[in-house]
């Protein structure tokens, strides 16, 4: 029982916590059970052990596995942009400078989280403030965006008839002037 609780629990458990689990279990017997578990794990060379944390016990992997586990965690293809991020980036790239409200209107969903991710990745930055209520932040692509995708200038971005009116329509010259006018 003690083992099942330590395994499934979200936080370290103290002897008192564990003793609550079953009638006839007191703190002394809990401590014995934990000591026994610890010894068993060591004898059997389990990859995890019982560690004392914050006044309680918890099961953790042994430190020698840390290097692999850490690498393992970071391997997932999290370094790719998600579909929403790609879509948002496309809108920013073709419509810049563009406000969050406008992006949300085009995509039909909230864009706050995605914009933050794109900013953290250095692909998008705030380039100015729009007019109107609350003077919303306007976003544009960064030099790193051009570098990463192998463009020299924004005018290098491919344009085709496939592109939706909302993305293609915008007149580059006016918007650039606007951006300059609004830049801090």
């Amino acid at each position: 029982m003690v083992e099942a609780l330590l395994f499934a629990s979200q936080s370290p458990l103290s002897a008192a916590d564990l003793a609550r689990a079953e009638e006839g279990l007191d703190e002394e017997r809990v401590e014995e059970a934990v000591a026994e578990l610890r010894a068993e794990y060591e004898r059997e060379q389990r990859a995890f052990g019982v560690f004392e944390v914050a006044g309680g016990w918890q099961l953790l992997t042994r430190p020698e596995y840390a290097p692999v586990l850490e690498r393992f965690d970071t391997v997932p293809s999290a370094t790719r942009l998600s579909a929403p991020a790609l879509e948002t980036l496309a809108i920013v790239a073709y419509r810049q400078p563009v406000g969050r409200a406008e992006i949300e209107e085009i995509r039909g969903v909230g864009a706050g989280g995605v914009l933050k991710t794109l900013q953290e990745r250095g692909l998008v930055e705030v380039v100015g403030r729009g007019e109107g209520l609350g003077r919303p932040l306007l976003y544009g692509t960064t030099p790193f965006f051009l570098q990463h995708f192998g463009f020299r200038f924004l005018d290098d971005l491919p344009r085709s008839e496939e592109l939706p009116v909302v993305l293609a329509q915008r007149d580059r010259d006016t918007t650039e002037q606007e951006a300059k006018a609004h830049a801090p």
Partner: protein, 249 residues
Amino acid sequence: MIAVLEPPAARDPYEVDLERFHGPLDLLLHLIRNQDIDVFDIPIARITEQFLAAIRGMQRLELERAGEFLEMAATLIRIKAQMLFPRHDDGEDEEDPRAELVRRLLEYEHFREAARLLERAERERSRLFARGFVEVRPPVPAADLPLHTEWGEVWAAAAALAARLAEPEPGYRFRGRLVRLEEKMELIRDALSAAKRVEYAALVRPWGTRMHAVATVLACLEMAKRNAVRLRQSGPFAGLWIYRAAEGE
């Protein structure tokens, strides 16, 4: 998050609590299965009556749900009407008007059964606990990792967006507003105060939606039951006429 619908304590055994049912098919199946009725030979008149009785308390239901139950009521009434007329004796095998409904009921029942199996699996799985505690490791800032995205993907996203914006909103379906039965009964009463009889189609035409048609049929039936009007139809698919109940009869 959807709350589990708990059936409230039963009061009157004949009173059906609509909130308990996940839809008109669920209610219909309940009526059929509870009375040991052969699903391939549904006594449509009886079931229709029970179904209509069950949805009478409908004013309390939300708009969307009410529409769903009304649609089913209309289907039942239509089948009932078809069953009333003798079949043509031209030797051809005509399909039982109930066939489509039976197919839907069985299909729904099967999925309800599948849902029960899933529920059982969920319950069993919930008895196994994964490791609750995950060591806190400082997350690697995303910006420090190499980015693998290529321009082609951004371009594809732009193109997909283009395609989506060019299309009409998918999955959008017009759902009629709830039409009140009283409103329709009032309409019939008004029409009959000016003329002795009025054609059903004339009452429905100005609105043209199914919801109004259904509500008008229900209003007719209700008023006929109260002997406030009489209904006449000369044959199948002929126009339905609503007559003022003859005075003194």
